[in-house]
Every structure is written in structure tokens, then in C-alpha cells.
């Protein structure tokens, strides 16, 4: 079977698993809400500052949530050693990664989009006019987060203290995403288009670099 076909099948499995219980999505969404609420206690959310800080805090909340959300990604495959089964079932191990990162991207986007109205209300920012651009930025950012998160999740799953280790490894590595997404989101909410294309180009570059690295080295991450 081809790479895409394999990926499709595995992606179906990932989505089915999650939507059966929806526990990952639920807990992630609630976590982001909590983080946003807590952040709002640290400054005046209705001031002009909110616009400046708001996007940064939003993306920070997304990153924290993501670093928790990708934990089960490979941990789940350790019970009953389903990872070996997965490896045997596909000719190209990259399909496993593609499926997982596609699923993670989707879950992240669902989280982000469902929280966007909450954020808009809490911090009084106008999102309606730029919604399509926001969706694009969310997609590119989430994709980057998922690629790095999925790769590092497979590493931390094989180490001790994995719950603490994964955020530790992931968050510094996602600095470029945080910076770019924050700036672009802030620019969109501020209605200054200048940064937009630079940001999109940069996020695409980040996604390509990490996806290529994952493609080149992914099979070693899954070695026995």
C-alpha cells in the first residue's frame, strides 16, 4: 500500500480512538480555558495592553496544552506493545508519524477554534473580520507544533520522567512558532497586514524543515 493509503488508514484509527471517548479533546479545551482565565488575573484584560499581550498569552496557552496533549501519542502505544503491531502493518514507518501528526494537528485546531470565541469575549478583541486568516495561522502553527510534538513524544516515551520531560524538550524547540504566531495573530487582531505574509512564509518554512527532518529520521525514532 502507498504511503498516503497507509496514513489514511492509521489516521482513521487515531480519530476513531479519540472520538470514542473524546477525553483528550475535552481535557485540553478545559486546560486552555483555565490558563486563559488565570492569565487574565495577572493584568487588566480590557486595557489596550490586552491586545498586545493577548495573542501571546493565547499561543502560550496553546503551547502548554499541546505539550500535554501529545503525551499519550506514543505512550498509548506502549501498553500491549501496539507500536510493534503498527510497525509491522506499514511498509513505511513515516506513515505512522504522518497519521499521528495529522490527528494531533486536527485536535489542536479543534481546541483552538473552539476557544477563539471565548478568547475574543474575555479579552475583547475583534476576530470576525480576519477569521479566515486566523484559521490559516492556527493551521500552520498547529502543524508545526504537532510535527515537533509527535517527534519528541516518541523520544520521551522511551525515557524516564516522561510527563515532565516532554514539555521540557518541546517548549524551547517551539520558540520560533510561539514568536511567529504571536506576532502574526497580534498583527491580525490589530489589523496591520504587514507582518502577515512574512509570518505565513516563516511558518511554512518551519513546517517544511521539521517535516523533512522527521521524514529523514523518523524510522530511527521507532526502532526497537
Amino acid at each position: 500500500m502507498s504511503l498516503l493509503a497507509n496514513t489514511g488508514v492509521l489516521l482513521g484509527k487515531e480519530l476513531k480512538t479519540e472520538f470514542r471517548s473524546r477525553e483528550l479533546l475535552t481535557t485540553t479545551v478545559i486546560f486552555v480555558v483555565i490558563v486563559l482565565v488565570l492569565f487574565s488575573f495577572t493584568f487588566d484584560p480590557l486595557s489596550d495592553e490586552a491586545r498586545r499581550f493577548g495573542s501571546g498569552l493565547l499561543w502560550l496557552a496553546f503551547l502548554f496544552a499541546a505539550s500535554l496533549m501529545v503525551q499519550p501519542c506514543f505512550l498509548r502505544e506502549q501498553t500491549n506493545d501496539t507500536l510493534s503491531a503498527l510497525r509491522l502493518s506499514v511498509s513505511d514507518p513515516f506513515a505512522i508519524f504522518l497519521a499521528k501528526l495529522a490527528a494531533n494537528t486536527l485536535f489542536l485546531m479543534i481546541t483552538e477554534l473552539s476557544l477563539l470565541p471565548v478568547f475574543a469575549v474575555m479579552y475583547s478583541v475583534p476576530v470576525v473580520g480576519v477569521l479566515h486568516w486566523l484559521v490559516l495561522v492556527f493551521f500552520l502553527g498547529s502543524l508545526g507544533v504537532s510535527i515537533a510534538g509527535t517527534a519528541l513524544s516518541s523520544i520521551s516515551a522511551q525515557a524516564r520522567m516522561r510527563e515532565l520531560l516532554l514539555p521540557l524538550l518541546l517548549l524551547p524547540m517551539l520558540t520560533p512558532i510561539l514568536i511567529a504566531c504571536t506576532e502574526v495573530t497580534a498583527a491580525l487582531l490589530d489589523r496591520s497586514p504587514y507582518v502577515l505574509w512574512k509570518g505565513i512564509g516563516f511558518l511554512v518554512a518551519f513546517d517544511i524543515v521539521f517535516l523533512t527532518a522527521l521524514w529523514l529520521f523518523g524510522e530511527y525514532l521507532l526502532e526497537e
Binding site: 515537533a148 517527534a151 519528541l152 523520544i155 522511551q158 525515557a159 524516564r160 520522567m161 520531560l165 521540557l168 524538550l169 524551547p172 524547540m173 520558540t175 520560533p176 514568536i179 511567529a180 506576532e183 502574526v184 507582518v195 512574512k198 509570518g199 516563516f202 518554512a205 518551519f206 524543515v209 521539521f210 527532518a213 529520521f217 530511527y220 525514532l221 526502532e223
Partner: protein
């Protein structure tokens, strides 16, 4: 044994000579005065640190490809040495910055990416302590090292392109826009001395790593017997 002692003596002499040149031979810079002399140490250490991490990157790639323990040894040795150099950069930088510009730190592209680089390699070493099986540890840390190395230019780019609306006062580490010949010579001599020190430290640390590997092999032999 003697080769190492001689090498050590060379290292000390070079570092001493570089310090002497930086402090006494190089002319005093016009705008910053004596303080500018920190630049010879700070910037040279930065270059050597980057070289060390490049060695780590190459060693990581070679390990993933070849799976020979010597590349893992070189990888961890050069990473630790690189961290030592970047630590001095992160310490001497603020010592220079405070009297020069009134602030200890600024979040411009170079400083921030240096700091993130430092953090990522700390994580590299931390990851190694959390994996017990030697081959797994070597492979996984090599892969993390590769991802980290690819990330750093992206960090630099992100800040360069997206945070210029928060202007940093000056970029630290430049020091001399118009380097006069003596200053240039002093700087390159410092860079040379730092690189020789780097090689020496990597070799010493690598020796430790190889010894550790041998100990593990013999222990294993004894257990099996």
C-alpha cells in the same frame, strides 16, 4: 601522558598570551574604553562554542548513520564543552552590557537564540540521564541533538524578523565596527586560543567517555562469565 601534559601547557600558554594581548597590546577602543576588552574573550568563546556544537551535530549524524559508540562519545563530549563555552558567553555578556548600556540583558535575536541554544543542549544532556540503555540513549539523544541544531537558526530568524518592532538598544557582541589591524589580530588570536582550548577539553572529556564505555564492557564481561 606526556603528550597530554604538553598539550595542556600549550593551551594554558595560548590562553595566557591571548589574555595578555587583549588586555595590554590591543589599543583602547574609543567609545567604550577599557570595557571593550571583554569582547576578545566573549566573542571568541562564542565562536568556539558554536564550533563545538557543530561538532556535536556532525557526531550525532554519524552516530545515527554508523551506530559506532565513538560518535556518541564525541557527541556528548562536544556538547558539554560547547555548553561550558556558551555559559561563559552568557555570563561575560551581561558583565559587559551593564556598564556599557545600563542593562544586563536584552531579548534581541543573537542573545535570545544563544540562550535557547543553551537550553536545548541542557535538555540534550538531561535526556541522556533519563535513558538507561546505552544504545537507545545514544540514538535518541543524537536524534534530539539533530532536531535542536536545526531549530536554532529558526529561532534566530523568528526574532530577527518578528521582534524588530521591539527595538533592542544595541546588539551585544559586535563591539567594533571599524576594527583596526591590531584589534583584528588580537581577536583572531583569541579565537585561535579558544579553539585550541575547545579541542583540548573535548579530547579530555572524550577520554573519560571512552573509559566509561570500557568499564561497562568489562562489567558486562564479568557478569556473563
Amino acid at each position: 601522558m606526556w603528550k597530554r601534559a604538553i598539550f595542556a601547557a600549550i593551551v594554558v600558554s595560548l590562553m595566557g598570551a591571548a589574555a595578555y594581548a587583549s588586555l595590554f597590546i590591543a589599543p583602547t577602543e574609543r567609545t567604550m574604553g577599557t570595557l571593550q576588552r571583554i569582547f576578545y574573550f566573549h566573542a571568541a568563546a562564542a565562536w568556539a562554542g558554536m564550533t563545538a556544537f557543530s561538532v556535536t551535530f556532525v557526531a550525532n549524524l554519524l552516530y545515527v548513520w554508523r551506530r559506532q559508540p565513538r560518535w556518541d562519545a564525541l557527541g556528548v563530549s562536544s556538547a558539554e564543552v560547547g555548553l561550558a563555552f556558551i555559559t561563559t558567553v552568557l555570563i561575560t555578556g551581561p558583565i559587559w552590557a551593564k556598564p556599557a548600556w545600563g542593562i544586563y540583558w536584552t531579548w534581541d535575536a543573537r542573545l535570545t537564540s544563544t540562550f535557547v541554544l543553551w537550553l536545548l543542549y541542557i535538555c540534550y544532556l538531561l535526556l541522556r540521564t533519563l535513558i538507561e540503555e546505552p544504545e537507545r540513549r545514544a540514538l535518541l539523544s543524537a536524534l534530539f541533538g539533530i532536531f535542536s541544531f536545526l531549530d536554532v537558526p529558526l529561532v534566530f530568524g523568528a526574532i530577527r524578523w518578528f521582534r524588530t518592532q521591539h527595538p533592542a538598544p544595541v546588539i551585544m557582541g559586535d563591539g567594533n565596527s571599524g576594527l583596526n589591524p591590531t584589534m583584528k589580530a588580537t581577536f583572531f588570536f583569541s579565537v585561535l586560543a579558544m579553539h585550541v582550548l575547545m579541542v583540548f577539553l573535548i579530547m579530555e572529556r572524550n577520554r573519560l567517555e571512552k573509559m566509561r564505555f570500557e568499564v561497562d564492557v568489562i562489567r558486562h564481561e564479568l557478569e556473563v562469565a
